[in-house]
């Protein structure tokens, strides 16, 4: 007997045959195929109780109500709240991607102290007690040196309890330097003061739902202007009821594309067109005589000035719009039976506008009697629900102290805050007149024009405390970061300043537990005030922020907590008889032609004009974009890490450019390598760049993508209001 090769073959064949009669191959195949479907790195989201909780979005001034879908204690989705008076169920891209802000990689997860050079990004974490103690030490030193006004604070707004707590702390401490992020509302509120003669701050409101002719002077009606979701809904309603919207702009923005007509005036001549229209309306006697006669002052002088300087021929020459079109537009705007309405504030309204333009546009509304009437422009009394914001002793504490930005001074009496003037004020002085800066819900190092100067100015401030929840550009320049809870983790009242035709206060609620070692900025302020003691400490009689909020909201608290908002459903603006203040209690027309600053840059060196392009898909405010929203940015705006510039093909060819190819864009402030996208929808001679890209902070989903508009464009100060009214800059572009 010999065991040879064949025997082993037989063994093998036997084994194979035997295996075929076992379940092994079939079972193994099945199991392996299941195994290939279950990679451990492919997450399996945990199931559980699904339910909705309500809150309010704070990512822009729009004030939308949100429904937060939760699975157990996780937020998996944010949807619009159907019952909310602002957004009625609609929601924008950024609002939906809120969970990515909550759980995302850009959050500051604990208090941090800078351990390297500014902007180097080296941080060490410290405890909340140590962090607050450090701030207190420095505050006490300022107090001891009698330099309390050397403390400044920047917030996104002055509305609501949290900004007011900051403001109160500063005031009681002895500093008037509370500043807010600029926006078109600054201009509108200055206009209301000047023309409505009211000393108290009024909110501008627009009764868009009842209007049937909208004349927009460059406002991005469906691109983030006002309360964005409400505006998009209003736009749809206009389509349904065949209302007309006319856009005055130099490029085919989405608003222009959706409008019934685009008037491409030469850039910077918007106010001229407005007054040209006013001229036609007055010459043809189309204005509302009841209003101008009994409820206004200065009308004859205004009429005189306008007919002298803005007759249609002159305006046609200035604006580049044909005479007959100006006349037709004016007639249409003023035609009887139409409820028409003119608006301004460019793009999203994230910058202020010139007083000349804002007053000209507001005069148009006044001429046709559309002030505080259905379908018109309203001055809305905002709910005065924070009694402690007005206490006399608070104001007494800063009596005699001067604001560094000169807002409210005899030079700029109608402005409340001029943050845009802060950098130059700091850079002008040898030593920074601001020794300590608080920044809450703001990112001036990114959102202010002229980034280099802003960063240089911040660099001179000895101590910066950022209250940011995210690692943004300003936090990057800070010495200490005291991260706030994000809006999904905290209580806060949100009075809406979005051009609504009625007062609305929303309540943002903690729909999840704080995910990281963060603290409500309201509580930090309370701790600081109590730590300072004396009259500052006494000014904060609340246990904690929630106590303050509940007591402040008083009767409204229950309703806010239950429904998420408070509003006055039946709100009606004051009738003409009681709406205006001033000496005569009347609307004040102005016959002054206000000067406009020139666009920065020499025409010879910089033959083109660079303007921003704003969109709902890119945030461009102090809130950075999320991975989801960045995903929606088209490749005609961002390609890889390169910004794409929009230019008219004719201009592009004149400049020797080719579609889709690389080029260098240069402005007096800097230069950047870009790609070129030829697009017919922009006026020849202009270039548009998306605003909101080019972040130098945040994480890899945002940082270093494209270029920042504000880094290439400097501020342009309005001689009347002192606000930055920059809307573009001279530029040139050349191929590489």
């Amino acid at each position: 007997m010999k065991i040879d090769r064949r025997s082993f073959l037989a063994l093998g064949i036997g084994a194979a045959a035997g295996t075929a009669f076992t379940p092994l191959p079939w079972k193994l195949t099945d199991d392996l195929s299941i195994w290939t479907q279950n990679w451990p790195w492919t997450p399996v989201p945990e199931d559980g109780d699904a339910y909705y909780d309500h809150s309010v979005c704070t990512l822009c001034p729009g004030g939308c109500g949100i429904l937060v879908r939760k699975i157990n204690d996780r937020i998996v989705k944010i949807e619009g709240m159907p019952s909310h008076p602002v957004n009625r169920g609609g929601i924008c891209a950024l609002g939906i991607s809120g969970p990515q802000l909550l759980y995302g990689p850009d959050r500051v997860i604990a208090p941090m102290k800078r351990s390297g050079a500014r902007g180097e990004g080296k941080w060490t974490t410290l405890s909340w007690d140590d962090a607050i103690a450090e701030v207190l030490d420095r505050l006490k030193k300022l107090e001891a040196d009698n330099k309390t006004e050397h403390l400044a604070c920047i917030c996104d707004t002055d509305r609501g309890t949290v900004p007011q707590l900051f403001k109160r702390m500063l005031s009681l401490f002895g500093s008037p330097n509370f500043m807010t992020t600029p926006s078109m509302y600054d201009s509108y509120e200055a206009v209301l003061k000047k023309m409505h003669g009211r000393k108290d701050t009024l909110d501008i409101g627009f009764d868009f739902e009842n209007t049937d002719f909208i004349l927009s002077f460059g406002s991005g009606v469906i691109e983030g202007w006002g309360s964005p979701v409400r505006m998009i809904m209003a736009n749809s309603a206009w389509k349904t009821k065949k209302a007309k919207q006319i856009q005055i702009e130099q490029r085919l923005s989405n608003t222009a594309a959706s409008s019934n007509g685009l008037f491409a005036v030469k850039p910077g001549t918007e106010a001229d067109l407005a007054l040209g229209l006013a001229c036609v309306i007055m010459e043809e006697e189309l204005y509302d005589k009841a209003f101008t006669g009994a409820y206004s002052t200065g009308f004859p002088e205004f009429r005189n000035m306008v007919t002298k300087n803005y007759n249609p021929d002159v305006v046609a020459e200035k604006t580049g719009i044909e005479r007959h079109l100006i006349i037709e537009l004016a007639r249409h705007f003023a035609s009887a039976g139409t409820s028409s309405l003119a608006i301004c504030g460019r793009g999203k309204g994230q910058t202020a506008g010139s007083m000349m333009e804002f007053m000209a546009v507001h005069s148009l509304n006044a001429l046709v009697g559309k002030i505080n009437t259905p379908g018109g422009v309203w001055s809305v009394e905002h709910p005065d629900y924070i009694p402690w914001a007005k206490e006399m002793n608070v104001r007494a504490a800063i009596a005699g102290k001067k604001r560094i930005d000169e807002a409210g001074s005899p030079v700029y009496p109608d402005s409340l805050s001029l943050l845009n003037r802060l950098p130059s004020k700091i850079l002008e002085s040898k030593e920074s007149p601001i020794e300590m800066l608080f920044v809450s819900n703001a990112n001036p190092a990114y959102t202010l024009a002229g980034t280099d100067k802003v960063i240089e100015a911040l660099g001179k401030i000895p101590f910066i405390v950022s209250f940011s929840s995210y690692m943004d550009e300003t936090a990057d320049q800070a010495d200490l970061i005291l991260p706030n809870h994000i809006y999904l983790e905290r209580y806060q009242d949100v009075p809406v300043r979005g051009g609504l035709a009625r007062p609305v206060i929303g309540l943002t609620r903690p729909v999840v537990e704080p995910q990281y070692d963060t603290m409500h900025s309201g509580d930090v302020v309370l701790k600081l005030a109590k730590g300072l003691g004396g009259q500052v400490g006494e000014g904060f009689p609340w246990d904690d922020y929630k106590d303050c909020l509940e007591k402040t909201m008083a009767d409204r608290w229950k309703e806010l907590e239950e429904t998420g908002f408070w509003t006055d459903e039946a709100y009606q603006p004051k009738p003409w008889a009681g709406a205006f203040g001033g000496t005569y209690g009347k609307f004040a027309f102005s016959d002054t032609i206000l000067p406009l600053p020139d666009l920065e840059g020499d025409v010879k060196d910089y033959p083109l004009i660079l303007i921003p392009k704003e969109s709902m898909r890119i945030s461009s405010s102090h809130i950075g974009d999320t991975p989801f929203t960045v995903k929606t940015v088209p490749d005609t705006e961002l390609k890889g890490k390169t910004l794409v510039i929009e230019i008219n093909p004719r201009t592009g060819k004149e400049q020797g450019l080719a579609d889709g190819k690389d080029a260098v864009l240069k402005t007096p402030l800097g230069q950047v390598r870009v790609k070129v996208s030829f697009f017919e929808g922009i006026m020849p001679g202009l270039m548009a760049m998306p605003k909101g890209l080019g972040h130098t902070a945040y994480g890899k989903y945002l940082k270093g993508k494209g270029a920042s508009y504000n880094a290439l464009v400097g501020p342009m100060e309005d001689p009347v209001s002192g606000q930055d009214i920059s809307w573009g800059i001279r530029a040139r572009i050349s191929r590489v």
């Binding site: 007997m1 010999k2 065991i3 040879d4 064949r6 025997s7 082993f8 073959l9 037989a10 063994l11 093998g12 064949i13 036997g14 084994a15 194979a16 045959a17 035997g18 295996t19 009669f21 076992t22 379940p23 092994l24 079939w26 079972k27 193994l28 099945d30 199991d31 392996l32 299941i34 195994w35 479907q37 279950n38 399996v44 989201p45 199931d47 109780d49 699904a50």
Partner: protein, 218 residues
């Protein structure tokens, strides 16, 4: 050329005698049978033992005792949520209602009360019927609309006095109950297996079609 070479080799005087050829055949057959037998043993006996690892539940649970105490059968604890979704294994909150303190002297209950209720920690039960993430299964339509009994798919677990050993498939990570105890996949009862084919055959039989993919997948 090659042919002749081959022929030359074949003609070589290396031929085995006839008798030896016969015994060689026997050896081959027996090797074949050994191989056959070994692989049969591996496939039917060793493989199932190797394939599954035995895991213990955190503590034992007596379904029978609980069934006696409740009024609405399985649904008393295995609830439907308001939105119609099925909540699965009861949560700690549900159990704590009765088990804030021990109700008996059972050592298992003691573990539950001391380790889980006291620490407010959910019990990490091993779920015998757990399906992959891609499966969507609506208990509502089966139990309420089609009025099927729980036991039809889950067997007589409701009357059991203790939990059986959880056998986890080492490759897939799912319980042995999905493929069934029989390694050949044969089943006697409707609850013996929970594979897609089992869903499909029942649907085919009762609904007339296995249904589209999205009926049971997500």
């Amino acid at each position: 050329m090659t042919t002749s070479d081959h022929k030359a080799k074949g003609d070589a005087p290396d031929k085995a005698p006839k008798g030896r050829e016969g015994s060689s055949f026997g050896i081959i057959v027996s090797f074949f049978l050994i191989g056959f037998g070994l692989s049969m043993a591996v496939g039917w006996i060793a493989f199932p033992k190797l394939l599954y690892s035995e895991k213990q539940q955190p503590f034992d649970f007596n379904h029978a005792i609980h069934m006696d105490l409740v009024d609405e059968g399985c649904e008393s604890c295995h609830l439907f949520r308001e939105d119609g979704t099925y909540a699965g294994v009861p949560t700690l909150d549900q159990c704590s209602g009765c088990h804030e303190d021990a109700q008996s002297d059972s050592p298992d209950e003691e573990i539950f009360v001391n380790e889980y209720v006291a620490n407010q920690q959910e019990v990490p039960w091993l779920i015998y019927s757990k399906q992959p993430d891609c499966v969507f299964f609506s208990h509502a339509v089966h139990v309420k609309t089609a009025e099927m009994e729980c036991a039809e798919c889950h067997g007589d677990i409701g009357t059991s006095e203790s939990l059986k050993v959880y056998r986890e498939n080492r490759i897939t990570g799912y319980s042995q109950d999905i493929w069934g105890a029989n390694i050949a996949g044969l089943k006697k009862n409707t609850w013996d297996r929970m594979k897609m084919d089992d869903c499909g055959s029942c649907h085919l039989e009762r609904m007339g079609s296995k249904g589209p993919c999205f009926q049971c997948h997500k």
